[in-house]
């Protein structure tokens, strides 16, 4: 296995570690989904996780905010270790935003209420302040005019952008993206990726599971390639796409490019 802890770019060298995974294991019954995953993600780093389906990419990032419980190894997010302690889980979840493949917006709430929910109930912000924040965020993802609609009235791309705004409303330090464009029609993928690029440029720490190679090449500081629950290769996009060292990586790239 190649070294997974070093991000090469200069801009990240002085930054502290945001997510540290040490030998993370996870079983579903007898099936081992994660086999000793070890990686460190620096503050402001953008990591794209690639791999064939069933390779454990989604499971891994779902472990990072405890939507799945890992069963071996340690995960430390921003200095807080994930364990069964509810306080730590609550703390980490309020620091880590997550965007899902199926958007998972709350269908019974308007777009505005979807975004203000967490600031009001988790951060205990006054409603007026939370609504101002929500409008700023909707502005940022480009759909302030949809604030009073319900999620069911929006297109897939718009829904995913609302989902991103909803996560940002918690002012998270890390954003996790679990195949954010996989459920979208092709013409809507770009609008979501543009928002994500903006975020990356703004210095957000991001872990993105995706199949968008163009995005990976353009935005990622580092690409992690997984297969069968293990990290196979990790490196800069340049290294990954032009000069991969592992056979399995080459095979994967030959199938998708």
């Amino acid at each position: 296995m190649t070294d997974t802890s070093v991000a090469d770019t200069d801009r990240l060298s002085g930054n502290k570690d945001m997510i540290v995974c040490e030998g993370v294991n996870k079983w579903f019954g007898d099936f081992q989904a994660l086999k000793g995953v070890t990686a460190t993600i620096k503050e402001q780093e953008v990591v794209v996780v690639l791999g064939p389906s069933g390779s454990g990419k989604s499971t891994w990032i779902r472990c990072i905010n405890r939507l799945e419980a890992h069963q071996g190894g340690t995960i430390i997010v921003d200095g807080v270790e994930l364990s069964n302690d509810l306080r730590n889980i609550e703390k980490i979840r309020s620091e880590v935003g997550m965007v899902f493949q199926q958007f998972n917006l709350f269908p019974h709430l308007t777009v505005r209420d979807n975004v203000t929910l967490a600031p009001i109930w988790v951060r205990k912000r006054p409603r007026a302040e939370a609504e101002q924040l929500a409008m700023d965020l909707l502005e940022r993802v480009g759909i302030p005019e949809q604030a009073d609609k319900y999620p069911g009235q929006l297109s897939g791309g718009q829904q995913q952008r609302v989902a991103i705004a909803r996560s940002l409303a918690m002012e998270p330090r890390v954003m996790l993206f679990d195949e954010p464009t996989s459920a979208l029609d092709p013409e809507m993928i770009k609008e979501v990726l543009d928002v994500m690029k903006d975020l990356a440029r703004g210095g957000m720490t991001m872990m993105v599971v995706t199949h968008e190679m163009g995005f990976a090449r353009e935005v990622a500081d580092r690409i992690i390639f997984m297969e069968s629950g293990e990290i196979v290769e990790s490196g800069t996009p340049e290294h990954f796409f032009t000069n991969p060292t592992e056979e399995r990586t080459k095979l994967f790239l030959s199938q998708i490019l």
Binding site: E90, R93, V122, P126, S167
Partner: protein, 632 residues
């Protein structure tokens, strides 16, 4: 050149649905083929004769005497409640109707009826009344004593059709009025009848206004007749005359409350307040109808007021501190401690370790509940003050009502023996449902909980209750409950059985809610977790609203069942609405002999039950379309 160009500012309406003419509608729907034509004729003839038999059985039969219903309207309404105290019933009813009007105004329904539909319904019902009036056979001849005259084969002798038609002027007038109103609406509106819609609430209000207004004109019944057949009391003591004023006031009250509701709906807290008011209503109604508390003011000054101040001020202070966002673990510990204290007050009371007023025990429970919730209401100073204020308000109201309930009543009447009729049915159904809904939701949540002890208890309770007939539950609560109560405390039959109703229907409601809970997708839970909501917030803000929306149809179905199940109270001796019709009136021999006249009452009672059920079912249909069930 521009003067004849008009720009239509109104938004384009969707193209009108093409309407069939009456003739082509009949052809396409009733006689589209030979087979459907035959079926139409067969079932048409069948319906005709069924209708004819029904109206003849109901109205022109020697055994029918609608005086049995007309004379006993007060028994049907409130059984033997003392006439001198009737104003209490009106106050309680007014309270419920005012709350209803407020709620309708706050949660305004967008549902509306097309003017075309109203007009055609009016014409159709007018024609039905006309047909019924014409189809009823000639009246039975009666002798001077009012007994039907029979011939030697025991066939009732009948008068002529002509005399029958003359006697039924009222019905003809009704039919004519309905048809005339319908026709006037139809042609008066012209082509606008297709586009104009009237809010359903307004239609119902106007319709009930017409019925109530008619009591000023029509004599619907009287309190009773003396043996000579003369109305008891002064000749003006007709039911319509003593109830028309209160009903008119009620009718106007609903409208005023509706407007008030519309006005206050702009404040977010109005919804919470009105919900709280609904839950206080049964206690107020109970107090208004059954109590005239003789409050012991010495006790109030020496005990009740200091206790309220103690709980209000100290509890408020404590809750203000607990709602500090920075308190963290200490807050949870204090809340847990309070739960232990609250539990201990009951345990110690049970074993008699130390005595304490029941009021204090209940207050400790409420305080523990608030302490547990404190974290969810944490925030800035103003939010915390509001939370503490809510506590003071709640504990004030609770103490006030407990004091009232504990005070002896100057009305020396036992509820069981004189309260009944529709009043009881309505209050039992309304308040039974109101309490079984939250309990059902809690049970459903417990059954789907991750904590095995909750799951186990809820499952056992639900499966046990669902496995037992309702009558068993009633008998159990009627006979067994008093044995479990501490000495000196007694629950009236009615309270006990309403408690049984609450538990019984909550088990069924729980299963309906559970169905809704299962329809909420996994992703919703994950999204709620991912944005950092606590478990309680996830349930109340994300999962339950979606689950309840999906379960509206089965929940309303269960509500209708519960409403009708109150008629089973007759079995344990409560004089409910049905029992008055089935038992009380048919056994009445003075002042007028109504022995054996059961069917009239049963028809009347069924009609009233049907009216309630159809209202609920129509309302649920509106609610479904409003909340968009089935469309995401």
């Amino acid at each position: 050149m521009t003067d004849h160009i008009t720009i239509d500012q109104t938004p384009a309406l969707p193209p009108e649905k093409p309407r069939l003419t009456a003739g082509s509608w009949v052809r396409q729907n009733l006689f589209s083929s030979v087979r459907s034509g035959i079926l139409t004729v067969i079932f048409g003839v069948f319906s005709f004769f069924a209708f004819k038999v029904l109206v003849n059985t109901m109205f022109e039969n020697p055994d029918r005497d609608w005086l049995a219903v007309k004379t006993n309207l007060r028994l049907y309404a409130a059984f033997a409640y003392p006439i001198t105290q009737f104003v209490r019933v009106w106050v309680a009813l007014g309270l419920v109707l005012a709350l209803l009007g407020l709620s309708l105004g706050i949660w305004r329904s967008a549902s509306a009826v097309a003017a075309r539909t109203i007009a055609s319904r009016l014409i159709a019902s007018g024609l039905t009344v006309l047909a019924g009036t014409l189809l009823v056979g000639p009246p039975v001849l009666r002798d001077e004593a009012g007994e039907p005259v029979y011939d030697e084969t025991f066939e009732a002798l009948r008068g002529t059709w002509r005399s029958g038609l003359e006697q039924r002027t009222g019905w003809f007038l009704l039919a004519f009025a309905l048809v005339a109103a319908g026709v006037a609406l139809w042609f008066g509106l012209g082509s606008r009848r297709n586009t104009l819609t009237v809010p359903t609430t307004l239609v119902v209000w106007i319709a009930s206004g017409v019925v109530i207004g008619s009591t000023w004109v029509v004599r619907y019944g009287h309190y009773g007749l003396d043996p000579e057949g003369v109305p008891v009391g002064d000749p003006d003591s007709l039911v319509a005359m003593s109830t028309r004023m209160p009903w008119t006031v009620m009718w106007l009250l609903v409208a005023v409350a509706y407007q008030l509701g519309r006005f206050v709906s702009r404040w977010n807290s109005s919804r919470l307040l009105i919900t709280a008011a609904w839950f206080l209503a049964p206690f107020i109604a109970f107090w208004v109808i059954l109590r005239d508390p003789a409050i012991d003011y010495g006790h109030v000054w020496s005990t009740d007021l200091p206790m309220f101040l103690g709980f209000g001020v100290l509890g408020g202070l404590l809750l203000f501190l607990l709602a500090d966002p920075k308190i963290g673990e200490l807050g949870r510990f204090i809340a847990f401690l309070l739960v232990v204290v609250a539990a201990l007050t009951f345990v110690s009371g049970f074993y008699g370790w130390f005595s304490m007023l029941q009021k204090a025990r209940i207050s400790f429970c409420l305080l523990a509940l608030f302490a547990l919730m404190a974290n969810n209401f944490a925030g800035d100073r103003q939010t915390r003050l509001r939370f503490a204020g809510a506590w003071v308000l709640l504990i004030g109201i609770a103490h006030y009502f407990i004091t009232l309930m504990n005070s002896p009543s100057t009305l020396e009447l036992r509820a069981d023996s004189f309260l009944g009729g529709f009043l009881f049915t309505m209050f039992a159904a309304l308040f039974g449902l109101m309490f079984s809904f939250p309990l059902g939701v809690l049970l459903a949540l417990a059954r789907t909980s991750t904590l095995p002890i909750f799951r186990l208890l809820a499952t056992w309770f639900i499966e046990f209750v669902r496995g037992v007939p309702f009558i068993t539950v009633l008998f159990f609560f009627d006979i067994m409950l008093p044995l479990f109560l501490p000495a000196g405390m007694e629950a009236p039959d009615m309270a006990a059985t309403v408690l049984g109703l609450v538990l019984f229907s909550s088990a069924y409601l729980a299963e309906n809610v559970r169905g809704g809970l299962q329809s909420v997708r996994r992703g919703q839970y994950e999204a709620a977790d991912a944005i950092g909501l606590t478990g309680a917030q996830r349930t109340s803000l994300i999962v339950l609203p979606q689950a309840l929306r999906v379960s509206i149809p089965p929940l309303v179905g269960q509500a209708i069942t519960t409403y009708k199940e109150t008629s089973l109270f007759a079995i344990i001796g409560v004089f409910d609405f049905l029992r008055v019709a089935n038992y009380v009136v048919p056994n009445q021999s003075t002042p007028v002999n109504f022995i054996g006249h059961k069917l009239e009452g049963l028809i009347f009672v069924s009609f009233v039950y049907w009216l309630g059920s159809i209202t609920m079912s129509k309302y649920s249909q509106n609610l479904e379309s409003k909340m968009g069930v089935g469309e995401r």
